[in-house]
Structure formats: C-alpha cells, structure tokens
C-alpha cells in the first residue's frame, strides 16, 4: 500500500506523476532557468506554517533510529544532490532512511528523504539522479505551496488544513504527515513540470538523461510482476488514476532526454562502490517484504549487471524458499547450487539449503548442508538448534 501511495503521488512522492501527451511540446518549451535560493518565509504566512510543520517533522526524523548514519554514503548522495541543485545545495538536507520501498521525498523546507529501497533498486548514479532531480524539481517549482494554496481555496479543506498546521503535535505525527501529504498531492501538471526540470538538471550535471525513462521502466516491471504474483488484476488506470498512462510517460521521458542529447555519464561503477557496504542489509530487508514478484524482478535485473555475484543467487533462492509454492523449493535449491559456484553467498545459505532439503524429504542432503553451516559458523547464535536438526536426520 505504501508503494501505491508513492505512485499515486502524495505531496512527498518521487516520480509520483508522469508526463504524457502534451509533454512532448514541453520538451521544446523555452529554456528553464533555475530560481534563486529561497528565503525562509514569514512565520505568520501560510508558507511559514508549512515550513514550521516540516521543521517539526525533520526534528523527529533526525532522532529516528531508522536514519542510516553512514558519512560516506551520506556524502555521496548529498554530492549528487548538490550537482543537481547547484546553488540550492546548502538549503537541502539529505536523510537516508532504512525502509525497503522505492521512494524519495522533498519537503518545501529543504528536508529530503531517500529510502533504502530506492537505493537498492537504482543501477547507476544517473538513475538515482533522475529520481532526486524530479524531487528537486518539485522543490524548485515550489509545488507544495501551490497545492497548499489551492487546497486552502476550497473552504472545507482549507479550514482543516489550517487546524492541521496550527495544531501540529496534537495528533500522531505520522497521521498528520499522511493527512497533509494526501491533501497536497501533486497535480498532473506539476508532475509533468518536475519531470521536465529533473531531466534538465540531469543533463546540466552531466548525467545521461535517458536513465530517467529506464527508472520508470524498471519500476513498472516490478509492479506488474508483484500484482501477477498476488493474482491481482493489473490495471494501470486504477493505479495511475490521477496520472497519465505509464508507457507514454516512459516515452516522453525518453524524448525529453533525446532533446537534451543522450550523452552523459551513468556512473554505474561509482554507484556500486558507494552502496557496497550496505547492499547486503538492503537485500535482507527486501526479502523480508515477502513480495516475491517484485523481488524476483529486482534480483534478476541485478544479476544481469553482476552475473558472478553469489549473494544475488542466494537471495533469489531465499525468495523462492520464503514463497514455497509449487516448484519453489526445487528452484530455491537450484539457485543455492548456482550461488555455491560463485563468490559472495553467506554461510546462512547452507542453513537455508538444509531447511529446504528437509522439506523435500532428502535428509542426507539436509544433514550435509547443516553440517556445512556449522563448519562455517561454529558459534552461530542458532548452532545449538541446528545440532538438534542434525540429530533428527541421523
């Protein structure tokens, strides 16, 4: 559901909306000029209230244990933001948040959140720049303020918004933010504009603008596979009821990129290096979503980029093991066996292999796998229990 909220485009959603027919004309629109840095609004103004609300959210976020406090990663992502945002760089504060979903957000006060699920899904620096550029686009165009004023002009919503902003702290903070985000969801035109600015910023920073359309293509593949796996009817018109057809957006982003010239760097190697220390943790979080369809597509995409990576094969095996339908257990064993031939699979793979072999009724193979796990991790916190598994297979 959270993913859907993001795609439908709340006031804080990345890639929340999509340009489509008509946006081609925008590719030929007059050259976009970056606005000057924003001064802090008057505290008594509506914009000042919105900033104050977001300042309180930021204060809460700063204290959250879900923020990943790794200076190297922080500096890397902030560096990308600064390349994109130019002189606005000092006004934007990046928070990398441990949440295994595709999302980034940008508040009008300069608070930017980047979720770990987004970092895992991007294959290059240019792809991350595409999402961040889109969010910075909303910020530079001051879309939140536009939406706030539009909502306030509708009397009932306006009264409620006034109460919400003025009484921040009286309700649960999360519900307040969700309410506000829902009320300030970006319009189609705003999404279109943010995409256009995002591609512009990418091109100016020297990134390959075409990567923006690839981000969208990848996300769609995952969403479709997830829906199919859950036996849900895939209907884009429901998912994107406030937005244009996805295929058109993908094409328009590609056209916008072509208009900018398809040249530019992707920074795939730098991106891989920057994420290296965290990738295993992000993969574990991804598996725990128990969303087989989306995870399988993600892992297969990563495997194309890194065919010799044993950890990715292990994770694919885990995805099959956790779903455990039809021939999944056999598929899991096959993936573990492939991982064995590569580098990078953790010792826990042999524990998983043992569990699966037991389910398949192959006690001998199960025993070998459990024994291998204990050999590799003799002091594992579950070693005593694994020994009882061995006794049962005797």
């Amino acid at each position: 559901m959270q993913r859907r909220r993001f795609v439908l485009g709340c006031g804080c959603a990345a890639l929340g909306g999509l340009p489509w027919a008509g946006a081609l004309a925008q590719a030929e629109a007059p050259e976009w000029k970056m606005p000057a840095r924003f001064a802090r609004p008057d505290a008594s103004s509506d914009e000042g209230s919105l900033w104050a609300f977001m300042d309180r959210e930021e204060h809460r976020l700063k204290q959250s244990a879900f923020v990943i406090r790794d200076k190297a990663l922080q500096d890397y992502v902030t560096g990308i933001v600064c390349k994109l945002a130019g002189e606005h760089c000092p006004d934007i504060r990046v928070y990398i948040v441990q949440t295994p979903l595709f999302n980034a957000s940008m508040a009008p006060n300069g608070m930017m959140q980047v979720w770990s699920g987004l970092l895992l899904r991007m294959t290059s620096e240019a792809q991350l720049a595409a999402v961040l550029g889109h969010e910075i686009g909303h910020y530079l165009a001051r879309h939140s303020i536009e939406r706030l004023r539009d909502a306030k002009s509708k009397s009932a919503a306006g009264q409620f918004l006034g109460i919400l902003l003025a009484r921040a702290g009286g309700l649960g903070a999360i519900s307040q933010l969700a309410l506000l985000a829902g009320m300030l969801a970006y319009s189609r035109d705003q999404e279109r504009e943010a995409d256009r600015i995002g591609v512009e910023l990418m091109a100016r920073a020297g990134y390959a603008p075409l990567e923006a359309s690839r981000v969208w293509e990848q996300l769609l593949e995952e969403l479709k596979a997830g829906a199919k796996d859950r036996d849900e009817y895939w209907d884009e018109s429901v998912l994107f009821k406030t937005h244009p057809p996805a295929a058109e957006r993908q094409k328009v982003l590609a056209d916008l990129a072509a208009a900018k010239g398809a040249q530019g760097r992707t920074g795939a190697d730098e991106y891989r290096a920057a994420l290296a220390q965290h990738r295993s943790d992000f993969l574990v979080d991804e598996l725990k979503r128990h969303n087989f369809g989306e995870t399988r597509v993600l892992l297969e995409r990563m495997q194309k980029a890194f065919p010799d990576d044993g950890e990715l094969q292990y994770c694919l095996g885990e995805a099959y093991r956790l779903r455990a339908q039809d021939k999944d257990l056999t598929e899991a064993i096959a993936a573990y066996r492939r991982a064995e031939l590569l580098k990078g699979a953790p010792a826990e793979m042999y524990r998983s292999m043992g569990l699966v072999q037991r389910k398949l009724g192959d006690e001998g193979q199960a025993e070998s796998a459990f024994a291998k796990y204990l050999e590799l991790k003799p002091t594992a916190p579950d070693s005593a229990l694994i020994r009882t598994y061995l006794k049962r297979t005797d």
Binding site: F66, G170, G172, K288, H290, L322, R351, R358, D382, L385
Partner: protein, 197 residues
C-alpha cells in the same frame, strides 16, 4: 519526549474507552488449553477490539506496565493450516500459515512477518532448544525496532508444537530499563506453562 508522553496518554485513553482490560493472576490461569501459574498479577487486553502492532491477531495479549511498554503475546492453539496472526487493515498482507512440520527457524520467520507489518525492524539473536509447556520446544531472543517511534525493544520467545498445534509466547519490552526489570517475572511464569498432551 513531550509528544511521546502525549501519544502514550492518548493511546491509553483510547484503550480505556474502547477496550476491556482485566486483571489475570496471581495463581493458575489458562489461555485456551495452556495453563500457567502466575506469581503476580498481569493485565489482559481485549485483543478483539484494537490491533496492537507488536501482536496483531494474538490469541491473548498481556502486559505488566502498559501496552505501550511491555507486551506478552500468546499465539496458542493454532492448528495445522491455520494463519498465524492477522494482517493490519492498511497492509492487507497475506499472513503466514502454520504447518505442524515447520522447523523452528521457519516459525520465527513467520512470527517476524506478523509483527513487522508496520515497518518495524526485527533481528533474531540466540535460537536454541528449550523445554516449554511440558515438551520439547525452543527459545529465541530478538530485537524489535518499533517503526512509530524507533524505540528499541528486546524480546524473548518460547515455542512448542503439541498435538500438531502451535504454542508460541513472545514477550517484548524496551531495551532500556524495562526488559531487564520485567523479564525475570516472565521467565518464572513461562516455567509453569503446561499443555495436556
């Protein structure tokens, strides 16, 4: 901290307005067909009224200090093929199904998927064989980082499978102060657990 206090107060107000909290113990008490002898009183929460993120769909939920602090969740008498727990309305997640032949590792994974639906982060620690409720079972330790306020909880679970049914108790309390203070009372209660086999 002020906001957190207010949230706790609101939560307790909501609980008192909408749910029934009854005293259980001291002495012998039963949860389905499992009995325990308690040295002191606990508070039992009518779990049919409100879903607690740390124990969605639990058979019973108990506490010593309050439901925002320590939680003893009972998932007991769950038969082969029955779901463990209940999905939160906003996630509509498919709940894991208990199978009598599940390995302890798989039971812990299932429990984790139930109690992390709100985005909390679960990390299992020690997992070891243990006698529980008159039979062979296992004990596990875990950490839970609560999504709502990022508070770190320590947890301990006991589990056995008897008569092809799942009997799982999981107790969690804040890592700072509360867990260390309250876990001995829990452990002494657990030692008295019994199921007719």
């Amino acid at each position: 901290m002020k906001r957190r206090t207010l949230l706790v107060a609101l939560l307790l107000l909501a609980l008192s307005a909408c749910t029934t909290i009854t005293k259980v113990g001291p002495g012998q008490v039963t949860v389905k067909d499992m009995s325990m002898t308690l040295e002191g009183p606990w508070n039992k929460f009518d779990s049919s009224a409100v879903v607690l993120y740390q124990a969605p769909g639990a058979t019973e939920i108990w506490t010593r200090e309050g439901f925002n602090l320590d939680v003893l969740a009972f998932y007991v008498g769950i038969g082969d093929g029955e779901a463990i727990g209940m999905s939160l309305p906003r996630t509509q997640k498919k709940m894991p199904v208990f199978r009598a032949r599940m390995a302890p590792h798989e039971i812990v994974e299932a429990f984790e998927s139930v109690v992390t639906q709100d985005g909390s982060v679960f990390k299992v620690g020690k997992l070891e064989p243990a006698r529980f409720a008159g039979g062979e079972g296992f004990r596990f330790e875990y950490e839970l980082r609560r999504k709502g306020d990022s508070l770190l909880f320590n947890g301990v679970g006991y589990c056995t499978v008897a008569n092809k049914k799942l009997y799982l108790l999981a107790y969690s309390a804040p890592h700072t102060y509360y867990f260390g203070k309250l876990v001995p009372g829990l452990e002494s209660a657990v030692r008295t657990a019994n199921i007719k086999r």
